[in-house]
Structure formats: C-alpha cells, structure tokens
C-alpha cells in the first residue's frame, strides 16, 4: 500500500533524463532543459530515462550500450532521431522512437509507466564479462608489473612515472567520453592522469555518420541560436543550472535583445568570466574571452571554426581535469554542426 503510494508520487516527479548526443543533433538536446517536467542530469546513474538523440554508428553505438546499462532500474530508453533507418545499437533495439521536434511528452509518459510498473524496466544489453583477458599474467595475475599496471576488467591500472615536479608518481591511463557534460558530440579523450593533472592527452571524434539532421538551424538566426545552446551547456557545467534553463528557453524562441542582454548581465555577475580567465589559452585567447564573445548579442560572429583537436590536446597537458573540461567546452569544437553542413552545401 505504502509502496504503491510512493510509486505514484515518484511517477509525478520531474523526469531525470540523461541525454546521449549522437550525430546530426548538434547541441539541440540542450534545449530540453527549458521544460519543467524534465531535469537534465549529468550522470546516467541519476536518470530514469535515457534519451539517445541522433545517429549512433559503430563505436558510438557501443558507447550508448554502455551508458544504457548504467541507468538504475526502473529505466527506459527513447530514440530521438530524424533517421529511423540508421544504425540501431542493442540499447535502442526495443526503444520507442520519437521523430518529431518535441520528445518531452513521450519522456514523461515513459517515466510514469515505468514508475507505476505498467511496463518493464529495460534489461541490460551487455554481458557482465571482463572485456580483456588478464588472468595469470604478471606477479599477481592482474597483467602488470609488481602490484601495479595491467588492465583488469578492461580498466588500465596505474603505473609509476615521472611527474612535473620530478617525482615518480602513479600515472593512470583513462578514457573519458563521449557523453560527458561539456563535451561536444562524439568526443572521447584518451588521457594519462597523475592525481587530477593531465600528463598526456589525445582527442578523438567518433564517427557521427551522415544523413538527415534533427537540428535544422535557421541560417539567418542559426548562429545566435547555437550560441545560446552552447551557453546553456556551459552554464550547467559551471553549476548555474537555473541560468542554463533561462538560456535554453531563449534558444527555443527568437529572443528579444533585451532578454539576451539580461542573461548576459546575470552571467557576468556570476563570476563565471573570472573563473574561466587564464584557462585554455590558444592564440592569446582564453576561455573567458570565448565566453564573453558569445555573451554579446550584438557580436555578429560568435563562432569560429575552432582549433584542431591536436592543438586542444596540447593545451590540456598540465591542466587539472576540471580545467581540461572547461577548456574543451569553451572551444565549442565543431564535431557535429548544422551550420557547418549548411556552409558545406553553400
């Protein structure tokens, strides 16, 4: 009885949604934040509904499967796509498909049905097996040297190595991405960390496929709209979720200059530009400058093509991981852009 009452209450909660952005969506899914019936969450562990937005060919599909299995039960999946004939990874095989502009209604209904037990929670799609063979190699059978190193269960363990202060500390190889907060679509970082300092970094963009797009930016207002979506993502990263919602709402409608200016004022007062100053400098421009440029509604060209992935990787070395995330986000790397496609066609 009490359990049923709790389930009914849970069914009315704002739906925690984790969005995996694939190919052909750009930053469009960021706009979902505007709707009070949803809560965009930053970890799949916090979500009941996984919204897989766009195309997921090859390795990106494997990544979606992995994220899918991290959602706690009760969980469900929606595939939001303009291309229903595209690659369909295991996690999306039984998912409901939404092709229209607004998936919110479907998300809310899915959450309600899951909480009330009307439909079954998604089963895991990956086997719970170690992806790497490692047993029996090395001193302790973990595959490395001594008590360190090796790749047990597919996770590389730390080995010692020289650091910037001349000490020999643990170096941990990690692979982060592709669906992390602030990361552009399909980006994956192969990094070696000592503590939280990046020692080596390599950036990789997974194949995003090609075909019809979900985000069709108006070429006239597209730049401003994209900047607002980017701002929503950046503000969420900085812990300013409420301002991110405001930016997402502005991105949905062609905003009056006054409301954009009001948002810019709030962002300037939040101390975010100061927090980003001196971070991720390339060609004399830091993350702060890139943020401020996009805040200004009168600036015609907020966007630039962005530096190469190799140059960004160089800048990441020596930063702590939090700064590395800010750096990556601040560049707004054009991994998957509607306007890039428009330009290519023109």
């Amino acid at each position: 009885m009490a359990v049923a009452a709790v389930r009914r209450l849970a069914a009315t909660a704002p739906v925690p949604v984790f969005v995996a952005r694939g190919g052909g969506t750009g930053l469009l899914p960021v706009e979902l934040a505007f709707d009070a019936r949803l809560r965009l969450v930053v970890s799949p562990r916090h979500a009941t509904v996984l919204v897989a937005a766009g195309r997921f060919p090859g390795p990106l599909g494997v990544a979606v499967d992995r994220v899918h299995d991290q959602l706690p039960a009760p969980r469900g999946t929606l595939w939001w796509t303009a291309d229903v004939d595209g690659d369909r990874p295991a996690a999306l095989r039984d998912a409901s498909v939404v092709t229209d502009a607004d998936p919110v209604g479907s998300v809310v209904a899915l959450h309600r049905d899951l909480c009330l037990g009307r439909i079954r929670s998604d089963a895991a799609v990956l086997a719970d097996d170690p992806p790497n063979r490692f047993e029996g190699r090395g001193d302790h059978g973990q595959g490395g040297e001594g008590m360190m190193g090796g790749v047990p269960w597919g996770r590389p363990m730390a080995m010692t190595g020289d650091d910037r202060d001349g000490l020999a500390l643990d170096r941990l190889p990690v692979v982060l991405g592709p669906f992390l907060p602030g990361f552009p679509n399909g980006l994956r970082v192969h990094a070696v960390l000592q503590g939280d300092v990046v020692q080596e970094a390599k950036l990789e963009v997974l194949d995003l496929g090609s075909g019809p797009r979900l985000d069709r930016l108006d070429p006239a207002a597209g730049g401003a709209q994209h900047d607002l979506r980017w701002l929503a993502e950046a503000l969420r990263l900085a812990g300013l979720g409420a301002l991110a919602v405001r930016a997402a709402r502005l991105a949905r409608a062609a905003p009056a200059p006054a409301s954009r200016a009001a948002l810019a004022r709030l962002v300037r007062r939040s101390g975010l530009p100061a927090a980003w100053s001196g971070v991720g400098v390339i060609d004399g421009e830091d993350a702060r400058a890139r943020l401020v440029r996009r805040l200004d509604p009168s600036a015609p060209e907020g966007r630039s093509p962005g530096p190469s992935l190799e140059r960004v990787a160089e800048v990441l070395v020596g930063q702590d991981w939090s700064d590395a995330v800010v750096t990556i986000c601040s560049f707004d790397l054009p991994t998957d852009r509607a306007e890039a496609v428009i330009e290519a066609q023109a």
Partner: protein
C-alpha cells in the same frame, strides 16, 4: 518514564529539525532556481522535493566494480550524523539546548574536520574516476578553508570568555557579533558552503564532473547523501545565527522562534548564492584562501582580541 522521555526527546528533536531543514533547503532551492530561470515560482516548489525523494526511494542503488562497500555505505551516514552532532550544541533559548557542552566551539570544529573525511570517503569509495577526481579537488579546497573557521569562531568566543555556545549568545546581548566582528559571518559562510559542498563551493558534487562524488550513486544512498548535504547546510546556518546573529535573543517572540527565523535568513542567502555565483576554480580558490581570506580571518581575531583588552 520522564527521564526516559528526555533521553529520547533530544535525538528526536535534532533529527526532526534536520529533516525539516533539509526539506526547507530543497524548497528554497527550487524557489530560487525558478525565479532565476525566469520560469516563475509555482506550487510544484512545495511538492517537488517529496516527489524527487519518492523517486530515489523507488530507484535501484547502483553497483560499481570493486567499491569499498563499507565506506560507501557509511560515508552518508557519517555525514548526516555530523550534521546532527553540530546542531545538538545550538542553544534554542536561555535555558534549553540539546547538549550545551562547555567546549561547544571545539565540538563544532570536530564536526567540520570530520565532514571533510566523510565527503572524501564518499568520492573515494565508489572506485570510479570522476568521483575520485572530485574528491581530490574537494580535499584541496577543504584543507584551505578549514582554518578560517577556527579563527572566526575563536574570535567570537573571546568576548564571551568561553567556548560554550550559550555563553557566546549571552555575550551578544545588545551588540551582535556580526556588528562587533564584521569579518566573521562572511568568512564563516565560505566554510558553510565548502563543508556542505554547495553552490559556488560545490567542488565535490559538481556537474562538470558528472556529479562528482555522486556520479555513481543512485537510489536510497543518493537520497541519504542529498539529505545530509542539506542538513549540513542547515546546521551551519543555525550555527551562524547563534554565533554571529545573537542566537535566541530578540524582542517579543520566544527564543526558539528567533533561532529558526535567523537560521532561515542565513539559509536563504546561502541557497541563493548557489544559483547566482559560478563554481570557483579550485586552484584559484586555494590561492585566495591562503593569501586573502586567511589573513582576513586572522585580522578578525586580532580585532576581537584588541577589543577585549
């Protein structure tokens, strides 16, 4: 019977106040978020926290690969317990506090230092990257802000000539410490935000690290952790009200009502800061802490000492 009732009344009162405090924090947070986002404050602000809590009750707790299971389960409980221990020393009126220990300030200091352990443990024990990275950066900040608290609280104890909180409240008769030692409250607010890992000092559970120490936590453990963070913020606000805003003292209304009112004012300010100010950068915060805030805290102590002479 009466003696037994008294034994149970104290912990029940503390737990009740903290639970109510956590709910109020969630409501205030939703209200400020609605106002800042421009959505407008609706009735959902009141029911929202209960609905979200219900969802976490229904949700399955996450498992990770080889976690330190005991620490992972104990960290939220330790954190909540610390919030309760801290609240216990708050005097509610001239004659009543749950535990008016002689060295109340020292006990509070223990709560602050152990809170750092609980938060680090929460990030460390999941055995996952993002939560450990968040725990690292929190620790760097935590070791930096902790000294501020000791200086400003000792400064508040000087005019009272006692480490006992009831005496510190009495010493503010006629002149609150917020006026006598104007640096104290803002510096203590920094410690409050850090220890509750809230708003601009939410380094442990930040969205940029996928939720930090909570990145791999779901279901009931997450509910306990979120509740404990809000409870910690409540305890800190009550402490700020007691040490800097005259505690239970005030006209007309009874003492406990003044404590509640003043606590709510501090709470509202702290919660609002979370939506108006961006998260600090760890490296810069540590620098500012040691080079600016710590000297200011020392100055606060000197001012209190000179005044006492």
């Amino acid at each position: 019977m009466t003696a037994q009732a008294e034994v149970w009344a104290a912990p029940l009162l503390t737990a009740g106040v903290l639970a109510a405090g956590a709910y109020v924090v969630a409501v205030l947070d939703a209200a400020v978020a609605a106002a800042v986002s421009g959505a407008g404050i609706g009735r959902s602000v009141l029911a929202g926290p209960l609905r979200r809590a219900a969802l976490l009750v229904v949700q399955q707790p996450s498992a990770t690969e080889r976690p330190d299971a005991a620490s992972w389960a104990l960290a939220p409980a330790l954190y909540a317990g610390l919030a309760a221990a801290g609240l216990a020393v708050i005097p509610w009126s001239a004659s009543f506090s749950v535990a008016d220990v002689e060295a109340g300030i020292v006990l509070w200091g223990t709560v602050e230092s152990l809170a750092i352990v609980a938060i680090f443990l929460h990030g460390w024990s999941a055995n996952t990257h993002q939560s450990l990275l968040a725990a690292y950066r929190f620790l760097a900040a935590g070791l930096s802000y902790l000294l501020l608290s000791m200086f400003v609280l000792i400064a508040a104890a000087i005019p009272a000539e006692s480490l006992q909180l009831s005496r510190i409240v009495e010493s503010q008769h006629g002149l609150w410490n917020v006026v006598r030692q104007p640096l104290g409250l803002p510096l203590f607010a920094v410690v409050a935000l850090g220890s509750s890992t809230w708003g601009p000092l939410n380094l442990a559970d930040g969205d940029d690290l996928s939720g930090g120490t909570t990145a791999d936590v779901s279901g009931r453990p997450r509910l306990v952790w979120s509740g404990a963070r809000a409870a910690m913020l409540t305890s800190f606000s009550a402490m700020a009200a007691t040490v800097f805003l005259g505690g239970w003292q005030g006209p007309v209304l009874p003492g406990p009502a003044w404590v509640v009112l003043k606590t709510l004012v501090v709470l509202a300010a702290l919660v609002a800061s979370g939506h108006l100010f961006a998260r600090v950068r760890t490296e810069r915060f540590v620098t500012v802490c040691w080079l600016v805030l710590l000297p200011l805290a020392f100055l606060d102590l000197v001012i209190a000492g000179v005044e006492a002479l």
